[in-house]
Symmetry: C3
Subunit: 409 residues, 3 copies
């Protein structure tokens, strides 16, 4: 990747700056150029904007904390995992701001409000989820391309679900989690390497629920908080029980725990702010926790051998299945609560659209990424940091090793 | 623990769901079933609820951050430390919500407000503190039982202190920190294993002040923030000085620093929102920092040899002693400020009750946990993750080791 | 450091308590001793104070998170890095509260409001930045002295820039970042050890942008948030591109990434709340990201060999250069926007003053720290934790090593 990567990165950044100069209207210019009424409403928007500031803050704290957390699992592929996450986030939030703004303004200039930045962050999360499915098997250049393509498809599906179908998906179980997972699985299916059929010696589960971005954080409503809180708690307890049930001699598996415990938060997303009693949320969480553990144990190996889809981090279990459970729970809740059956149809259409656009978009993106020009790593370099990173600490670690050994002999 | 653990965990989760269905009233049902005045006050409650949202958020950020932080110290018993913490928290907050709600409503159905969830989190913290005293010597099954029993006793003492004695303990120095420490010590005393008299080879201080949950975070009042801020700062500087004074050749001990620095936050808790000048808070912090370091150096070894209480992580020094200092500081402050001596008596009674219920409850819980049915680990498996966890990363680490060695020979 | 360190630490803490007792007025005493109008305005202050609470909270969350993050890079000098950071912060915020309060009140008693605590935290950050330049080459005693001296000089320059020149520096690019970096470089220049000319075997880049304290966190204004957000994003993408361009075979260097990505936040600080369009902020961020990477690659080695200034962590690249870029961007923005040229002169004077006081203060402090009484480590002990800390975990780690080896032979 001698020049491909730096040139593409700089090129994309220049494009972003130009697009911002062309499309983004700065708050002040509005205030002076329009009539007083609009100025006033703009001022109110700014005030409303400041109200959402703590939640914006939370997002970034989570990104930082998650970043730090991931850092602790540096092993062979730790640098790439963390580093590419950061790169995806930085590029993705710029592109997400632009593409979502253009969708919203129908191609006109638009203002940036706090909530647009939050939505841009959301769009980035889908790419981070998909990244989990192809981790270790793709080059940074490929990830730049995937970031641009996936966020574009995401923005289209989001517009369809919320602005045309008017479906409900507060915690974005379907539009973010299921979408991201199935997009990633489709890409992974296209990029399947039969040379990696056997478990690669470098491959180890070091994925940690990219960034803890769960719905819990995104919502301020009393009902959504209570439901998410108890769904998560129930999913933790159930995941422990199932993990112990499935592993040899009743042991626990940290990979199950770490992922399955968040599944409750993903699954309750769609109906988080619907009028459901807390125990219903706990049942959703328990199902999601159990399904997630079973997925890790039985489904992921099956995907690799039968479907030729190699899901590096098992994103299907943390985001895909719980997202679908969330979508189904949303359909059931709406069907029970609303007499108007068109709302139920909307919910079902939203779930269908999220999965369908993810699969189609993922297949096309996978086909583009397969073009042998993007500095793809050969099979033997997969899951290895040293292909893309200077790795001083590892060397130092090994030096200490040899030092210790030399004291022995 | 082939079946004991998963069956008990699933059983408890089912019980929680049933209890929620029976006792928890969902906000909406109230709005519709009662008279308008009550509805209005319920709406106000919800508004008040949203005001406490940032603080609820903070708690969970700390839980996550603390979780990640602990993760970094994975060594032999890292998985169990972290994993059991999470399990305790998930079960504890469900049970805490129920038992505290029943106490408050005298057995009637009750509503869940944000502040109930914060209180349920609090109740969980006591178990996490006690867990520090028995870490490495108990099975997950035992921890499930201890969670249920300790939170029940905690809820009773909390009701006594705040609703009957009307004592002041804003930062819960007495009711959480001292209570949790002495409960844990009593359990540890009952579970004493003479086979572990000698320092176990796996035992290393990897405890890190479970979850950074200090009072600082729980309180919004100006006075409490200022006092806690400067108490913590003073306790850090004093702990450094004392650690250097006690260790060989003036060195510093990271275990002292990590624990003692938080002691200032614990100790200032009881009188955090009383009318004390900041320098008084700094004196309390300095005393707590010093006492905590001295406790680690001299008291913990003495407890093991003389009292046959083996306090794995030294919770007595971080939570027990500073909690008692906090209680005493509260009594002194009230005695100086208030002419009415009954308030001083209430404060003293609250400290006494917190320690007494902790000790009695801990002894009974310890006796129950001693019943040889809870899949207790034999002495040689203590402090070892691999008894309860699949430990892939360790294996991988060792593989890298052998790989490196093979390049040598 | 058998007695020098503990005695100095206790002595300083006693001085702080006495100064607080003498200078700090407690809120209540005001309420009772003054006239009703003032009481009312004091109450309003308290209310305003509570509004800034979330931002105060954020600071401390970052300090904790940063602390935990740094912890993960424990290697030879990890303990000292983290531990001394905490000590500096604890002492610095007490001294910062006092010295800034005295400056503000012209030597009278003063009240502590939330914003004073935030400003005291700021003052501490300058010392943490400077610490990066001398990390591994100084004793704890020297750091205590540097904390007191640097915060005093900082408070003087801050007073000059904001209260006499009335210059703008919202994100404190100049007054914190450039100041801290050049102060540290001046100290490092004076403390240059020719014995460490060759790269010390213990020296490894494990510095991680102390505490993530960037301006982003300090400001609530809509404009400042948007500008910082996009400046950071652009700086990340550009840093990746430049790192790949400069390293062998197009690889990425984690040290570049970690530091350069924050450079965008530092550089946009001065004009963060000025009326600049977002794409202008993205250009500032891109320049800062690129300059920072180039600095690491070419400037830091040159400083060591030619200027005899050994900058352990390369603070010049993360704080010095981006701070100067921020100052220059501020001058240009003001020159373009304001017809009144005295404002431009003020901005330029603020940049000059920040660098000049930093250099002069740093040279004097360096000269004081050179006095051979402060328990300085000899050259061979530099960058080694075990001089100042008990290091159990390392030992344990090595034990595991030997254990593994013994299973082989």
């Amino acid at each position: 990747m001698r020049f491909k990567f730096p040139l593409m990165a700089i090129g994309l950044e220049v494009v972003m700056i130009v697009l911002f100069a062309l499309f983004v209207q700065y708050e002040t210019s509005v205030n002076t150029s329009r009539n007083p009424n609009e100025t006033e409403s703009a001022a109110m928007d700014v005030e409303k904007t400041m109200e959402s500031y703590p939640f914006f803050q939370d997002v970034h704290i989570m990104v930082f904390a998650g970043f730090g957390f991931l850092m602790t699992f540096l092993w062979k592929y730790g640098f790439s995992g963390v580093g590419i996450n950061l790169l995806i986030a930085a590029l993705g939030l710029q592109w997400g701001t632009i593409i979502q703004g253009i969708f919203r303004s129908h191609g006109q200039k638009f203002l940036i409000e706090m909530k647009n930045m939050i939505h841009a962050d959301f769009s980035t999360v889908t790419v981070l989820i998909s990244f989990g499915a192809v981790l270790g098997k793709t080059s940074p250049v490929q990830m730049l391309i995937m970031t641009i393509l996936e966020i574009t498809v995401y923005a289209a599906n989001e517009y369809l679900v919320f602005k045309i179908l008017w479906a409900s998906d507060t915690g974005e179980s379907m539009t973010i989690h299921a979408f991201g997972a199935y997009f990633g699985l489709a890409v992974a299916g296209i990029l399947y390497r039969s040379g990696l059929k056997e478990k690669h010696p470098n491959e180890e589960s070091v994925y940690h629920s990219d960034l803890f971005v769960n719905d819990f954080l995104w919502t301020k409503q009393y009902r959504a908080i209570v439901n998410t809180y108890f769904s998560l708690a129930a999913s933790v307890v159930t995941a422990y029980a199932c993990s112990s049930l499935l592993e040899s001699r009743g042991k626990l598996n940290m990979v199950h725990i770490q992922n399955a415990t968040l599944a409750g938060g993903v699954a309750v997303g769609t109906c988080a702010d619907m009028e459901i009693p807390p125990y219903y949320a706990m049942i959703i969480g328990s199902i999601a926790g159990a399904v997630s553990v079973f997925g890790f144990k039985f489904l992921t190996p099956l995907f690799t051998t039968k479907l030729r889809i190699h899901d590096t981090c098992g994103v299907h279990n943390l985001h895909g299945l719980p997202g679908v459970i969330g979508g189904l729970a949303g359909i059931i809740t709406v069907a029970l609560e609303e007499s108007d059956s068109t709302k139920t149809v909307s919910q079902a259409a939203a779930l269908g659209s999220s999965i369908a656009t993810a699969l189609v978009g993922g297949l096309i993106t996978g086909a583009i990424l397969k073009i042998p020009f993007w500095a793809q790593p050969p099979d033997e370099d997969c899951y290895d940091d040293s292909v893309y990173w200077e790795v001083p600490e590892r060397k130092e670690y090994d030096n200490h090793f040899h030092e210790l050994l030399s004291t022995l002999h």
